[in-house]
């Protein structure tokens, strides 16, 4: 009975008691949701256009951030370093297309999936070899990212919004919008959608798969860079970030592998729900629930919608 109270009543009482904390929680959830969404976005882009489940997205985040910081540490001015990093991500995309995707074209998904694992190893090794494995500071100031916080006195308390988080949210939404526009209205976008629908069809109308792949992986690289900067500025740039990137997977499940809006919504759902759960229900089970909560949510959603909330359902004919 008491247990039931703790599970079903008490959390909401708490929410009511401290609305400012609730607001703060929602905000935090929103922000981490945005970051999850950014990582997931990288997955979706690549999965849509090349059907590859790119496990390396996580390490690409770290790699991009490391390159940026490393270049700066090597004396390159911040903005130039940023530009160079973008260039590096492009080179990376080309290299991946040439050395990994092209030889593996038309192979089973699982094979491409494993290939991205190999890619992960290579990137981890290279990253640590070149930049060293120690945690680094993200050069937030030099990139004119705001620091400090806005304190809103509201709901009988205070809600603190980190300027950085606001920036993250804005940048994320801008990127998403930009991508949406690109997908909708540009020639490349149409090509991308064609490829997403069917590789053969795309080929038959004379779209070069290779170009598309480079573009998509490059785009994913940019997304990764943005994610890396944001997350790096919030904590540190270290290889532990790669693990956080795994969170993108339940996000993908919720959103469906193929839907960009899905990735965003999924990210927000995961971010919000896991924060709320950890804060109000976590204590009941000793906390630390964030490690698995998102995945369990994803699992439950899958039980009712085997293709995610937004993924297109494949009807099996025979």
């Amino acid at each position: 009975m008491h247990f039931l109270y703790l599970v079903f009543i008490d959390p909401f009482v708490q929410m009511g008691m401290a609305p400012d904390l609730l607001a703060q929680t929602l905000w935090e959830g929103l922000v981490s949701g945005v970051l999850y969404a950014l990582i997931a976005l990288g997955f979706v882009l690549i999965y849509k256009a090349s059907g590859v489940f790119n496990f390396a997205q996580g390490i690409m985040v770290v790699f991009a951030a490391l390159t940026l910081v490393g270049l700066y540490a090597a004396g390159v001015p911040a903005l130039l370093a940023l530009a160079l990093t973008v260039a590096v991500m492009f080179v990376l995309a080309v290299a991946i297309e040439r050395l990994v995707l092209r030889p593996l074209v038309n192979r089973p998904d699982i094979i491409l999936f494993m290939a991205t694992f190999g890619l992960t190893y290579v990137l981890v090794g290279m990253g640590e070899l070149v930049f060293g494995g120690d945690t680094k500071q993200m050069i937030a100031k030099q990139l004119y990212l705001p620091s400090g916080a806005i304190d809103l006195a509201m709901l009988g308390g205070r809600v603190t919004l980190q300027k950085l988080d606001i920036a993250a949210a804005i940048i994320a939404s801008v990127m998403v919008a930009a991508l949406a526009v690109v997908f909708q209205y540009t020639r490349i976008g149409r090509a991308l959608r064609a490829v997403a629908d069917s590789h053969r069809a795309a080929l038959s109308v004379g779209i070069s798969l290779n170009q598309i792949w480079v573009i998509v992986w490059f785009a994913a690289g940019i997304v990764a860079l943005a994610t890396g900067i944001m997350w790096g500025a919030r904590s540190e740039v270290s290889f532990a970030l790669e693990v956080v990137a795994l969170k993108a997977l339940p996000v993908l499940i919720l959103g469906g592998f193929t839907s960009i809006p899905g990735a965003i919504v999924g990210g927000l759902i995961v971010g919000l729900s896991e924060k709320l759960f950890e804060l109000y229900w976590g204590p009941l089970m000793g906390g630390g629930t964030e490690a698995w909560f998102a995945y369990v949510v994803a699992l439950i959603v899958l039980l009712f919608r085997p293709h995610g909330l937004f993924g297109e359902v494949i009807i099996e004919r025979i």
Partner: protein
């Protein structure tokens, strides 16, 4: 087919690797388990540099110890137990004088093996607290303090700032820790002290995978408003925690940590981190003759991996401290056995008779670097005094006098833990190693 050859080659290579005479017999083989890779590399690199550079310095300056050169070999563990065990198996054949696992997980895996292979394990201020009891764990050493010592000192300090233990009643102490055996170890003691002094404890676990994603833990902190925070963190968890604390506007002067955060872990949080406090037992900085020698003989000759600006930082100096323990133990062993090229067994004796007085610290060019430390057969830890240092925005400043651990509470815990360990590991060997009373 190809694979058969691969594996044949593999075996062959390994055989060769084993067949090769490990190192010339007139050297002291000191393997250093380090982790310059993986999620914890941030903490691992400076420590590895410090350990390595001090030993190299001895080689360069004095031609080793007592005229015997030190064969220093790093083995990369990546803080991963599996690799750690591999490293141990790889080095144990080359009769190492001592092994520093530098990971609680690896230490725990090695503890049973040590007694069998006659290799002393030096887990400096980490590992299994109970291994402080030399009569149960003759081969394991964890000076100068156990985590329980550390926690008791922190509670002491908090009580002091509050103005007496009686003031702790009704206060709340939050404990944010890496959700791993290492982080969980202090909890029993914390709860015991809570019961004794009537303060409340709030636990905030941080999963290894979530180290850089702590906002919810700190939301909890904000809700529970603990009067003090104590952190048992490692690697990327620490800078993230400090940053989050700053974000939440938690009073830094009330944010304490065990001795693992280094400068890099707080620097990132900017001026907000001013006032953050952690434990320490040794000097920080490069203003010691010995470190000057390291700079002269090692760093300037480009034999070190340490970046110029990181030289003499806290964790680097801690690596140095670790190496001092090794080398001093070797010296004692040499004295005891009257032989130059000592074995692991000898160094075990050396460690048990280790006596680092203030005078001795001065002799080796580290005056007032650390408190005196004396080990014995029964006491493999020393439970030395600790002090609290504060981050002033640029460097660590000592803000407390020497604080002694609450031996009265820690000792029974150690005894209990040791007997529990023995009880659960049926057939745990009784101590047979003789005990010399030179100290």
């Amino acid at each position: 087919m190809s694979l058969r050859w691969t594996s044949l080659a593999a075996c062959a290579a390994l055989m060769i690797g084993l067949a090769l005479p490990a190192f010339a017999a007139d050297q002291l083989y000191i393997p250093l388990f380090s982790y310059r890779t993986g999620p914890f590399a941030g903490s691992g690199i400076p420590i590895a540099d410090g350990m390595h550079d001090y030993l190299t310095m001895l080689n360069e300056r004095d031609g080793g110890i007592g005229g015997v050169r030190l064969a220093i070999e790093e083995c990369e563990t990546g803080y991963d137990t599996k690799k750690g065990i591999e490293c141990y198996e790889a080095v144990k054949g080359k009769n190492p004088v001592v092994v520093n696992p530098w990971s609680t997980g690896i230490t725990l895996a090695l503890i049973p093996k040590a007694a069998v292979d006659k290799v002393p394990i030096l887990s400096m201020a980490y590992g299994l607290s109970a291994s402080a009891l030399g009569n149960t764990f003759p081969w394991i050493f964890n000076p100068p303090d156990t985590y329980w010592d550390g926690l008791s000192v922190l509670v002491k300090q908090i009580a002091a700032t509050e103005g007496g233990f009686d003031k702790l009643k009704g206060k709340t102490i939050g404990f944010i820790y890496l959700d791993a055996p290492y982080g969980k170890e202090p909890i029993p003691l914390l709860q015991q002290l809570a019961a004794k002094y009537g303060f409340n404890v709030k636990l905030y676990p941080v999963a290894g995978a979530e180290m850089q994603n702590q906002s919810s833990q700190w939301l909890n902190v904000r809700r529970d408003r603990p009067n003090y925070m104590i952190m048992w963190g490692w690697g990327a968890m620490q800078p993230t925690a400090v940053k989050e604390a700053v974000k939440t506007g938690y009073p830094m002067a009330h944010f304490y940590s065990v001795w693992w955060p280094g400068e890099d872990d707080v620097r990132g949080a900017g001026p907000g981190a001013k006032g953050f406090r952690n434990l320490n037992w040794h000097g920080v900085g490069a203003n010691f003759p010995a470190l000057a020698d390291i700079r002269k003989f090692v760093v300037d000759k480009g034999m070190s991996k340490v970046p110029k600006d990181k030289f003499g930082e806290e964790l680097y100096d801690r690596g140095v401290y670790n190496s001092v323990l090794i080398t001093e133990a070797i010296r004692v062993a040499q004295k005891l056995t009257k032989t130059k090229v000592v074995t692991g067994a000898d160094v075990r004796r050396g460690l048990e008779n280790l006596d680092l007085s203030a005078a001795r610290w001065k002799e080796i060019g580290l005056p007032d670097f650390a408190n005196s430390l004396a080990l014995s057969c029964a006491d493999h830890n020393g439970h030395g005094n600790l002090f609290v240092q504060e981050w002033d925005g640029a460097k660590w400043v000592k803000v407390s006098g020497d604080l002694s651990p609450m031996n009265d509470v820690v000792e029974p815990l150690l005894a209990a833990a040791a007997s529990e360990y023995v009880g659960k590991n049926s057939g745990w060997p009784k101590r047979t190693e003789a005990c010399d009373h030179t100290s």
